[in-house]
């Protein structure tokens, strides 16, 4: 008697296992799944919910970090991956992926100096590198004074604050330092986490921000949206054209518009230290990764439709969250690439 009940139970369980995946797969047709970078998560989530209301198509995005996103898209467990740092063309080719920039943001140096307002203090690219190398140690250093005539600077020690966790923000920031300082490039280099020659590490943007707020005479770097929302004392930077620029969506867009996208193979383009008088030197784009050959062209088409909608109808929502939309010039290039590169298994283009 008891055995019978047990057997029946087991059978029921087995039936569940057999039926459920089927139901799940059917459901998936109307859903796009992605995983990766945490930096663009708020705007992707916002776009997804707006798009769902409009079309009934769901977009599930897990912000597990760029590293995880790249691994998952390579393993084809998600329809697209997202990364804050572009993959090198060689790596793209090796794994049969294409990438394109989706949204931009900037990295902003912030300081804690008594009596100094946001945008009041000005630094050159070379000074930023030397401060982070631990070579410029006092705020009243002659070189800082030379950039800021008329500003009274304290004789405080500079405390450098950096990210402790591996992050795309660090990747963009160290890429910038490597470009503007040969010594940084040689001694430290650029990656999501590096061996910092000086300073202390905070976890996440909020960790860096709270250290900077706490320690008088400190300098750190955070994402633009974060600096803006928390009213941190940001720094004006002297870009490669010698002009002092403030971090805002105009200067980020200038960096993106002046970048030479057409000659960037696989959209491998880092927006740091770009030409243009108005260009903010520490700008970065967040990228989407997809397979060139799509086994399920209908899902891929749905994903591309969603991205197209984001490019065209999404900018307002992005700006509200203090992200910077891609310039239309770049969007046209991206959509051309979709047409040429993304194919289904029999070689027909998926887009449009």
């Amino acid at each position: 008697m008891k055995t019978n009940t047990l057997l029946a139970g087991l059978a029921l369980l087995a039936a569940c296992f057999i039926i459920c995946p089927g139901a799940w797969a059917a459901d998936k047709m109307s859903a796009i799944s992605g995983a990766g970078a945490t930096f663009p998560y708020p705007v992707y989530a916002k776009w997804a919910s707006a798009y769902y209301k409009l079309t009934g198509i769901k977009m599930n995005y897990q912000s597990i970090g760029s590293g995880g996103g790249i691994k998952q898209v390579k393993a084809k467990t998600v329809d697209f991956g997202a990364s804050d740092a572009p993959l090198k063309p060689k790596e793209l080719e090796k794994s049969g992926l294409i990438q394109f920039p989706m949204i931009m943001g900037g990295v902003v140096p912030v300081v804690n100096l008594r009596g100094i307002e946001p945008g009041q203090i000005r630094l050159s690219n070379r000074l930023m590198a030397d401060i982070y190398l631990g070579k410029v140690r006092k705020w009243n250093d002659e070189r800082i004074k030379a950039e800021n005539p008329g500003l009274s600077l304290p004789g405080r020690t500079i405390t450098v604050v950096h990210r402790a966790d591996g992050s795309g923000t660090t990747w963009i920031f160290t890429n910038y330092l490597s470009k503007v300082s040969p010594q940084w490039k040689e001694k430290v280099g650029s990656a999501k986490a590096v061996a910092w020659p000086a300073g202390i590490g905070g976890k996440g943007n909020e960790g860096v921000a709270s250290y900077v707020k706490r320690i008088s005479g400190s300098i750190g770097y955070v994402e633009y949206a974060y600096a803006l929302q928390n009213h941190l004392t940001y720094v004006k930077l002297k870009n490669r054209e010698g002009a002092y620029v403030e971090p805002n969506s105009k200067t980020f867009q200038s960096a993106a518009a002046n970048a030479d996208w057409e000659n960037a193979r696989g959209f491998y383009m880092v927006l740091t230290d770009q030409p243009g008088k108005d260009s903010w030197p520490i700008t970065g784009a967040s990228f989407i990764l997809m397979h060139k050959v799509q086994q399920r062209p209908d899902v891929a088409r749905a994903a591309l439709k969603f991205f197209d909608w984001c490019y065209k109808k999404g900018p307002k929502m992005a700006e509200k969250l203090d992200y910077v939309p891609m310039p239309m010039k770049v969007v046209d290039l991206v959509e051309k690439t979709w047409k040429n590169e993304i194919k289904d298994s029999s070689g027909n283009p998926v887009w449009p």
């Binding site: 590293g67 966790d165 992050s167 999501k192 590096v194 976890k203 709270s210």
Partner: protein, 326 residues
């Protein structure tokens, strides 16, 4: 007792069989559970070792002795993290053990009856606070206070002394190895205090009262009656606290400063094994980088293992000595 049981089971052979069967079932279930723990530990050890193998093969023993941690050039060494883990745990123990003892002695020996309940409950509540709360409290409340008022004093007075001076000099950032150690100390206190209290309470009152009767002071009673009676448990309680201090992640990450540099001064930032793992694992790319992080995990596992074995060994020697004495 036995006879009675036999009598109870006697009527009806089937019933007896059933009882036997249940007994066998129960014993084997219990045995499987115990073996499962062993199996899981071996499996964890094996998978850690397999994951860590590429890094261990590449760096060899220098992984333990190198202080370099450079994801760009893929040169990894665990020395900074090992040092930070051990030093923060030592600081935590130096603070935690005496305070927990004090709390437990107060509750069991000195406390008026009406205060016993509230103090005990407060300690249990402290133990239930999630570690991230300690971390945030450490970062937003304790570190500023410590950096503004305590650390300048430490660096002015202790920083000048010979020998220990270098450990206590440096800029008063409020964030660093010492802060992390103190936060850890506060975190382990409720655990150890609760264990010590329970232990001290099971000491037979007859023993204590006889000691008081022959004129022993409270301290003498603790020293000569309570501690010898409970020593196994006390060492176990300390190990429990030490285990928590060694493995604590979130609270430490918030206040230690996360710098992969070896500094003599306790006021300077450092890093621990678990905090390195928490910070870097999600964004680690490349085989050697990931593998080095797993190797760090393996080292933490080994440190905990060594500490526990040492404690067992220590206890064994203690009991052996006792046997020789009597």
């Amino acid at each position: 007792m036995n006879k009675q049981q036999n009598k109870e089971h006697a009527p009806g052979k089937g019933h007896g069989n059933r009882g036997n069967m249940l007994d066998v079932l129960f014993t084997s279930a219990a045995r499987i559970c115990a073996l499962l723990v062993l199996l899981i530990i071996i499996a964890i050890m094996a998978s850690l070792f397999m994951g860590a193998w590429p890094a261990l093969r590449k760096f060899g023993l220098s992984f333990l002795t190198s202080a370099e941690w450079n994801p760009v050039t893929e040169q990894f060494g665990a020395l900074v993290a090992i040092y930070g883990t051990i030093v923060t745990s030592i600081i935590a123990m130096v603070i935690g053990v005496p305070v927990s003892f004090g709390i437990a002695i107060f509750i069991t020996e000195l406390c008026p009856a009406w205060l016993k309940r509230p103090v005990s409950t407060a300690i249990e509540l402290l133990a239930a606070i999630p570690s991230i709360i300690y971390g945030m409290w450490g970062l937003f409340v304790f570190a500023p206070f410590f950096g503004d008022y305590i650390e300048p004093w430490i660096s002015d007075h202790l920083g000048e002394l010979p020998f220990i001076g270098p450990f206590f000099s440096g800029p008063p950032l409020g964030i660093g190895v010492l802060t992390a150690g103190i936060i850890l100390g506060i975190m382990v206190i409720p655990f150890m205090a609760a264990v010590f209290r329970d232990l001290f309470e099971v000491v037979p009152p007859v023993l204590k009262e006889s000691a008081y009767g022959i004129g022993a002071t409270t301290w003498e009673v603790i020293r000569n009656i309570v501690l010898p009676y409970t020593k196994t448990g006390v060492v176990g309680g300390i190990m429990l606290g030490l285990g928590r201090a060694l493995g604590e992640t979130m609270a430490v990450t918030f206040v230690i400063g996360n710098a992969d540099r070896l500094e003599t001064s306790l006021l300077m930032p450092g890093n621990t094994i678990s905090s390195s793992l928490a910070n870097q694992f999600t964004e680690a790319v490349g085989e050697i980088y990931t593998s080095s992080l797993i190797a760090l995990g393996l080292i933490l596992f080994l440190i905990t293992f060594i500490v526990l074995s040492f404690a067992k060994f220590f206890l064994l020697r203690l009991t052996l000595k006792e046997g020789a004495k009597t």
